[in-house]
């Protein structure tokens, strides 16, 4: 039986918020992947975006501002069979959580990061987020944004995510499709999701985006996938970076870059940790039937036996 990933909790996002589209894309993606109720964990930070797990009918943790990635990695590494999805804001992931975003690129544990890119701090009333461009003044700012913007696609590619894409919250089918691929991809994926915030961002509105977005794979020659010994690996990488700068009249959405060469962290762990694949920590028994330890202290610490 197909599991329904939407629950009936009241959603308290503002009317017209792009977050609704993301929620729909995510839950339908999980459903279409035919995942079961216990196959998925959704982890968020704090922000409007951070409320998502409550609306998904799967195990969910709404953690701390900026810390969704470490929590998600903890879940993934102890129970690698779970599909672990991070739903975070642009402030959450690229400001207070930027250190973890960068580190996760290096680690590549196999989580899926959905970044709700509204260019503002929604839940704290509209301050500039790291994707807001320099000099832009959205309605709740006292003065034009004094910070330059981060290019999230480039940051994700350059720090090592092996699946990097962009979606638009009002292109739900397209976004759902990307999420499905990302969730099934063994390495860590990062999806920058253009998400209008009608309450605070009066610049990057739904209409503004609708006029601009186009799909990368409308160009039939677009091939973002790098495989082992791919002669075009470098070219694909550079092209993805170049594409990531396209912003203004035309904004590309779709998959920018997929790196199949690099093994995820979970693969790397298998080399060092006994039975990691068959009996990861979450599947282990740690005590005997009568509650006794099952670890032999002297044998395990053999190198410390001095007499």
């Amino acid at each position: 039986m197909v599991h329904n990933f939407r629950n009936d909790i009241t959603v308290d996002w503002c009317p017209g918020c792009g977050d609704f589209g993301i929620l729909t894309a995510l839950t339908s993606a999980l459903q279409e992947l035919n995942l079961g109720p216990h196959d998925v964990a959704v982890i968020s930070g704090i922000g409007c975006s951070g409320k998502t797990p409550h609306y998904v009918n799967a195990a969910g943790a709404h953690t701390l501002h900026g810390r969704a990635i470490p929590v998600a990695v903890g879940v993934k590494l102890t129970n690698p069979k779970l599909k672990v999805i991070v739903t975070g804001g642009d402030g959450d992931l690229m400001s207070i959580g930027a250190g973890h975003l960068v580190a996760e690129g290096r680690r590549n544990s196999g989580i899926t990061v959905l970044m709700y890119d509204n260019a503002v701090y929604g839940l704290t009333k509209g301050q500039a987020a790291p994707t807001l461009k320099l000099g832009v003044q959205t309605k709740s700012l006292a003065r034009p944004n004094i910070y330059d913007a981060i290019n999230p696609i480039m940051l994700a590619i350059s720090t090592g995510y092996s699946f990097v894409a962009r979606g638009f919250s009002f292109e739900i089918a397209h976004l759902k499709n990307i999420i499905k691929q990302a969730v099934m991809f063994p390495g860590s994926s990062f999806i920058d999701i253009l998400q209008p915030c009608p309450t605070y961002n009066n610049i990057n509105t739904m209409d503004w985006y609708k006029k601009r977005v186009y799909k990368l794979d409308d160009d039939k020659t677009w091939d973002p996938v790098v495989t082992e010994n791919d002669p075009k690996a470098e070219e694909k990488y550079n092209r993805a970076i170049e594409k990531s700068f396209e912003w203004g009249d035309r904004i590309p959405i779709g998959i920018f870059y997929v790196n199949k060469k690099i093994p995820p962290f979970t693969e790397r762990l298998k080399q060092y940790v006994d039975n990691y694949e068959s009996v990861p920590p979450a599947a282990q028994d740690v005590k005997s039937k009568d509650g006794k330890p099952i670890v032999d202290p002297f044998e395990t610490f053999k190198d410390k036996i001095i007499v």
Binding site: G74, A282, P293
Partner: protein, 629 residues
């Protein structure tokens, strides 16, 4: 037999190897040995030393002045002028006598000024010669060692300085009277796999023993005693072992002194060896250890691990713990079974990063915004670390709350011999699991003891949020639910208080009635127990109120003991007498007499004894200990 020993030399100059050599040889010949390492926050060059004690029985404390003083470099002599007396033999390199203090640039400026003052005021020149003169004046016997000659004799084509540590250790063993064959065995053990190095060092040992005999300092060879199998463990190692025994399967860490050695030890032993019978037919695998990008990540990743039902922990020290405060508050709010092993070092801030301290107790008790229950307890000996580390995981699981296990740097870096790991003292306890199914009330309010049924990601659908939440784990701002959730969370602490046996919280060691009642926690336990014996010999009775748990606090017991005590002396390695503050807060009893030390060095038997007598004789209410280089 009772030898206190100090072996000093430059960081990176093989002090640890020397200490291991002595330790291994002593242990295999059946005697007891305990040691503590003191070192600078520096990789190469600055002064570092090991303070050891060798006895017939297993020592519990260290003592100054030392009996055998081994200086592998001139700085060691300058740094420890006052650590010798008529009981001491000073082993030093004869060729360094002209070395001037001014040349010793690796000695901290202020220390150098102090040494200069001592020597000058006592009429000695500020050279090694002068320093040795000073030591001699203090009664020490000087034993010049021709380090270079011994090395060259043994390994003619080697770099002599590479063997100084072996020479120092070997002569020490000879003086104690340890049979040479144990020294040779120790060499093979330490340099396992490096055949040439073993051979060379065996030759060095041989030459050193011969030198000791020729110089008539060698002791009578002690009989080898029968000895059971023993582990040589630091506090770090013991905690690692206890965690594995207690079921830990996920640990995260960011490197920091003196905590990361625990994680490294776990990593080195992550592929566990199982007890055949008990472990049969169980699902078994290795432990996952992750070096994270920082401590924010470490605590949150450990929380993530706990969410899948895995016994998870992280280990850190002061600066890292500060970064964990927010995560701790989340774990408290969301009832996450999480263990944080908190290695205390000298603070505040970066402080004395490689030195001892017990100045984080109040912080551990109050870290993280808002109010939530937590268990905070500490260990005092290497042996305790094993069982406590396992217990910490139980507490976390049973009471679904963060558990902070305090281990001071002194204990973390104490090398002790452990002959028995008593598995019967460890029972792995868990709590009721929620029924499998779709919607579980992870925060069920309908509980007697505050502990709601547990479940894990991958097993049930449930939610969590750091916001106040309803029973399902969804955000709520309802004021009644809020009150009931606060009450439920704190009820768990009452449950823990009721269920955790008193002996895991506080123990009165010794006679019920005594002239002096010491109060302490952490690594002063051993030295104080020895002081109690010393006092007994002098006709003074003393006992020890040894505190282990600070949250929940054993109020009644402590109040009971202290209100009956005649003279109470609080002994802590901090400035503000933090445990005494907690005692005052909980029991209302204000301990006036204190022995405190905050210079970062380990407390020794002799200085506690001296201060206790000062207090007993009413010469002082509070003594600040200043020993240690």
């Amino acid at each position: 037999m009772d030898f206190n020993i100090l072996i000093g030399g430059p960081q990176g100059g093989g002090i640890d190897t020397a200490a291991n050599l002595v330790g291994k040889a002593v242990a295999t010949s059946g005697y007891g040995v305990l040691s503590v390492r003191e070192y600078h926050s520096n990789i190469k060059g600055r002064h570092s030393y090991t303070h050891m004690r060798v006895m017939d029985k297993q020592p519990r404390s260290l003592k100054y002045p030392v009996n055998i003083f081994v200086a592998l470099d001139p700085d060691t002599i300058f740094e420890h002028l006052d650590d010798v007396s008529e009981v001491s033999t000073v082993l030093y390199d004869k060729t360094t006598e002209d070395y001037d203090l001014q040349a010793a640039r690796m000695i901290m400026r202020d220390t150098s000024a102090k040494i200069r003052r001592i020597l000058t005021e006592n009429g000695f020149e500020t050279t090694i010669r002068g320093a040795l003169g000073y030591m001699k004046k203090r009664g020490a016997k000087l034993l010049p060692i021709p380090f270079s000659d011994i090395a060259t004799e043994a390994v003619p084509d080697g770099t002599p300085s590479r063997y100084y540590n072996t020479i120092g250790a070997a002569i020490t063993l000879a003086i104690i009277g340890i049979d040479r064959k144990f020294a040779d065995d120790a060499i093979s053990y330490i340099f396992k796999g490096k055949q040439q190095v073993v051979e060379e060092n065996v030759k060095v040992v041989d030459a050193s023993y011969r030198f000791a005999e020729d110089s008539k300092v060698a002791g009578k060879t002690l009989p080898a005693l029968p000895t059971p199998r023993k582990l040589l463990l630091t506090g770090n190692d013991a905690s690692a072992l206890g965690k594995l025994l207690g079921g830990l399967r996920f640990q995260t860490y960011y490197p920091i002194t003196p905590a990361s050695d625990e994680s490294t030890t776990i990593e080195e032993h992550q592929n566990i060896k199982w007890i055949g019978k008990e472990a049969e037919n169980l699902r078994k695998g290795g432990v996952v250890i992750v070096q994270t990008e920082d401590e924010l990540s470490a605590i949150n990743m450990a929380i993530g691990g706990a969410l899948t039902g895995v016994r998870s922990a992280t280990a850190t020290s002061g600066p890292g713990f500060s970064l964990m405060a927010e995560g701790l508050s989340f774990a408290g709010m969301d009832e996450v079974p999480l263990v944080v092993t908190f290695y205390e070092r000298g603070g505040p801030s970066t402080g004395l990063p490689t030195r001892n301290g017990q100045s984080d107790l109040l912080f551990a008790l109050n870290a993280g915004h808002g109010e939530y229950p937590r268990i905070v307890f500490s260990s005092g000996t290497v042996d305790e670390c094993i069982y406590d580390a396992a217990k910490a995981l139980n507490y976390a699981a049973k009471y679904q709350m963060p558990v902070i296990h305090l281990i001071d740097k002194n204990l973390a870096n104490t090398l002790d011999l452990i002959s028995k790991v008593d598995l019967d003292r460890i029972k792995i306890e868990t709590v009721e699991l929620a029924k499998e199914g779709d919607d579980v009330k992870r925060y069920d309010l309908n509980t007697e003891n505050g502990v709601s049924p547990y479940t894990t990601m991958g097993r049930n659908i449930f939610w969590m949020t750091g916001d106040e939440h309803d029973e399902l784990g969804h955000v709520t701002e309802d004021s009644d639910i809020r009150d009931r959730m606060m009450e439920k969370r704190f009820k768990k602490l009452e449950t823990a208080d009721r269920e955790i046996p008193l002996e895991e919280k506080a123990v009165l060691i010794g006679e019920k009635e005594a002239d002096i009642t010491f109060v302490t926690w952490g690594s002063q336990k051993g030295p104080i127990l020895d002081v109690i014996e010393d006092l007994k010999e002098e006709g003074i009775s003393a006992n020890l109120l040894y505190l282990k748990m600070f949250s929940p606090f054993p109020t009644e017991f402590v109040k009971n003991v202290l209100s009956k005590a005649s003279l109470v002396i609080d002994v802590e390695s901090n400035y503000t007498a933090q445990a005494a503050q907690m005692i005052k807060l909980y029991t209302g009893i204000d301990i006036k007499n204190k022995i405190l030390k905050y210079n970062g060095r380990h407390m020794t038997e002799d200085e506690i004894l001296k201060s206790a007598k000062e207090i007993l004789n009413k010469e002082s209410l509070m003594v600040v200990l200043e020993d240690g280089s």
